[in-house]
């Protein structure tokens, strides 16, 4: 009985701790969601649950070209950067995990260096460079730095995944009559898929969330992404605070991330490689 009591109590304790963590993490999100549904008159009343519900804020942000255009920029720039970073990262990570080539240590070191590099220190030079070569305020102008910083992330996560895949599988595929390409495509890639998805989500979130490059390397709606565009929101009049609109926009850009993670969660978590080798 004592043991059961103890495990029950431990369960309660853990549940409580979990609850505290979840509340701590979610309160700001719920708060901003609540703000987004409040009318301008009640926005500062301090109630957690809005007294008067309204969809006005959402209607407003979608009626302005500013936000819709920024959303398109964010999605486009994020997807292209992710795709390129993951494709290049997959190849690089596979090579790092599987091959011994001269300069391998250097490559890993450099990619770690890039990941660690303070981005703030790059903003001014990038601004100058992009202005002089005409990339300033364009999609490629943001995509390139995103790839640069997304790639080390992709290489690191993916090479960890590739290392987990037993090399014997690739040898077995070759013995079974597969070419190098077939072995990769039919045996290694399906097993690496959860890793590739995880990496893609991480890189996408990085691009999606970035504010520093987005605010520094853009100047018009042409390429401004949502985080940057938010800071340019204006109230209906000079004296009105755009809190409602900003909250609504913040909710809108959080939703895709939540959907992304929920949708791919099973792929991320599943232990697809179990059973490949002895057990």
């Amino acid at each position: 009985m004592a043991v059961i009591d103890q495990t029950a109590r431990a369960k309660w304790r853990w549940s409580l701790i979990d609850l505290v963590v979840i509340v701590f993490a979610l309160i700001p999100v719920l708060w901003i969601t609540s703000l987004s549904f409040k009318t301008p008159a009640t926005i500062t009343d301090g109630n957690f649950i809005p007294r008067e519900w309204t969809l006005e804020n959402y209607r407003n942000i979608f009626s302005t070209d500013q936000f819709v255009r920024a959303l398109v920029n964010s999605i486009g720039i994020g997807l292209i950067s992710t795709l390129v970073a993951v494709v290049l990262g997959t190849m690089a990570a596979y090579a790092i995990a599987r091959l011994d080539f001269p300069g391998k240590k250097l490559l890993i070191g450099i990619s770690l260096l890039i990941a660690m590099f303070p981005q703030v220190s790059l903003v001014s030079p990038l601004f100058e460079i992009e202005r002089s070569i005409g990339l300033f305020d364009t999609w490629p102008g943001l995509i390139l730095p995103y790839i640069t910083f997304g790639l080390p992330l992709a290489i690191y996560t993916l090479s960890a995944f590739f290392r987990q895949i037993p090399w014997d599988l690739e040898k077995a595929a070759k013995m079974d009559g597969a070419t190098q390409g077939e072995a990769f495509r039919r045996v290694i890639a399906p097993l690496a898929a959860p890793g590739v998805f995880t990496t893609a989500i991480l890189v996408f979130i990085f691009c999606w969330n970035d504010f520093l490059f987005a605010i520094s390397l853009t100047s018009t709606e042409r390429s401004r992404t949502v985080p940057a565009a938010l800071s340019f929101f204006q109230g209906a009049s000079q004296f009105e605070d755009p809190t409602g609109a900003i909250s609504a926009a913040a909710v809108i850009i959080t939703v895709p991330i939540i959907l992304f993670v929920l949708f791919f969660q099973r792929r991320i978590v599943s232990g697809l490689t179990s059973g490949a080798v002895k057990g």
């Binding site: 040898k171 013995m175 059973g275 080798v277």
Partner: protein, 395 residues
């Protein structure tokens, strides 16, 4: 089906280590050949070179008379069973076994027929729709075999396929592998570090050490007529007993006692007056009280105190500690290191004898032990060579 010929095959790694040195082997069509040796002896490298998973540095590899050095694994038409099984975890058993056939672009009906056939042979029919994760170790091992036999390749390569199974299942699978090979008659190269597997499975056994072949032959021949100390110590369980010995005027002086040498051996050791190592298998000792007079003079007797008696039912293993120097040679140290007993503390040498079950020797008794002098081996400690091999029996 095909023969495999290795002609002075050498493998050197970029850092300069020679994994395999000038290996010559002719594996006949349908033969079951075992490569055996301690870890790091180059047996797996050799197998990988035959498979095409490792490049051959120099020499020639011919399969079915054709040079295949530069051919990719898939163009050699050989199947391999891996130690880790290497089943594709994202595919069912059926898909795993169908994979090589699919790559060979066979028709769907043909693939199904061949997979079903192979599954029947290996009793996998009920498991065809399962994923490898839901199989036991033995079942996974059979799927790995199934994937190899399904496309009837020219040869099978097996890399310690049974070493991940528990002891009982391993013995059982040993007979399965043996029967399957006999039934299919496919040339098979089998790598193992387990001398029991080597002795029981193979038509011929190749013993390797540090990238070089020590001896090639039928299991019994290796057991009875080892070329050198290494082979003698590696084959046999419990292994051969070794003691330092000197020979002078036809008598052999060892820690066990002074023994007269027979006519044949006297001639063989004539030019080796210095130190020797004598090797005697456990079964060539017997409880002296059980020896009939007619064969008694073929051997000699000595007394020793039994440390330990293990009764196996059919016979008894009796362990003695013999005072004096241990036999020392590079080969013996390597064998001891491989068995993990290199640093066991022991004053004197251990002697293991296999007595008949009728022996009444108990622990602590001083037993009279008879040794069959016809069967002893004498080795040159400097190069490990067996100097008592019969003429023409060298492999």
């Amino acid at each position: 089906m095909a023969d495999i010929v290795l002609d002075k095959v050498t493998k050197a790694f970029p850092d300069g280590t020679l994994a395999v040195q000038e290996l010559n082997l002719e594996i006949a069509d349908g033969e079951f050949l075992i490569l055996v040796g301690p870890s790091g002896c180059g047996k797996s490298t050799t197998l990988n070179m035959i498979a095409g998973l490792e490049d051959i540095t120099s020499g020639e590899l011919r399969i079915d008379g054709q040079r295949v050095n530069d051919k990719a694994p898939r163009d050699r038409d050989i199947a391999m069973v891996f130690q880790s099984y290497a089943l594709y975890p994202n595919m069912t058993v059926r898909e795993n076994m169908a994979f090589p056939l699919k790559l060979a672009k066979l028709s769907k009906e043909e693939i199904d027929r061949k997979v079903d056939e192979a599954a029947k042979v290996l009793e996998l029919t009920a498991l065809l729709d399962r994923k490898p994760a839901n199989l036991s170790g033995g079942q996974r091992q059979r799927v790995a075999m199934g994937r190899a036999i399904v496309r009837s390749p020219k040869a099978f390569l097996m890399d310690e396929p049974l070493s991940n199974l528990d002891a009982k299942l391993r013995v059982q699978m040993r007979t399965v592998v043996s029967r399957l090979q006999k039934k299919l008659g496919t040339t098979t190269v089998y790598v193992t570090h387990d001398q029991t597997e080597a002795m029981t499975l193979g038509d011929r056994v190749v013993i390797m050490r540090a990238g070089a072949v020590q001896q090639v032959g039928e299991p019994q021949q290796l057991y009875d007529h080892p070329n050198n100390l290494f082979v003698a110590g590696f084959i046999g369980s419990p292994s051969m007993n070794f003691f330092p010995a000197t020979v002078a005027s036809g008598r052999l002086t060892t820690a066990l006692g002074d023994f007269p040498l027979g006519e044949r051996m006297r001639g063989q050791v004539a030019e080796h007056s210095g130190d020797l190592i004598v090797g005697i298998r456990p079964e060539h000792f017997e409880d002296a009280s059980l020896i009939e007079d007619s064969i008694r003079q073929g051997g000699a007797e000595f007394s020793a105190t039994a440390d330990l008696v293990e009764s196996m039912g059919s016979d008894k293993y009796v362990y003695f500690t013999i005072e004096g120097e241990k036999a020392s040679a590079a080969e013996l140290e390597e064998l001891a290191a491989d068995m993990g007993s290199g640093d066991l503390p022991s004053g004197g040498s251990n002697l293991v004898c296999r007595f008949s079950a009728e022996s009444r020797v108990k622990e602590g008794d001083t037993a009279k032990v008879w040794v069959n002098l016809e069967k002893i081996h004498l080795f040159d400690p400097s190069d490990g060579r067996n100097i008592t091999l019969h003429e023409g029996r060298t492999a």
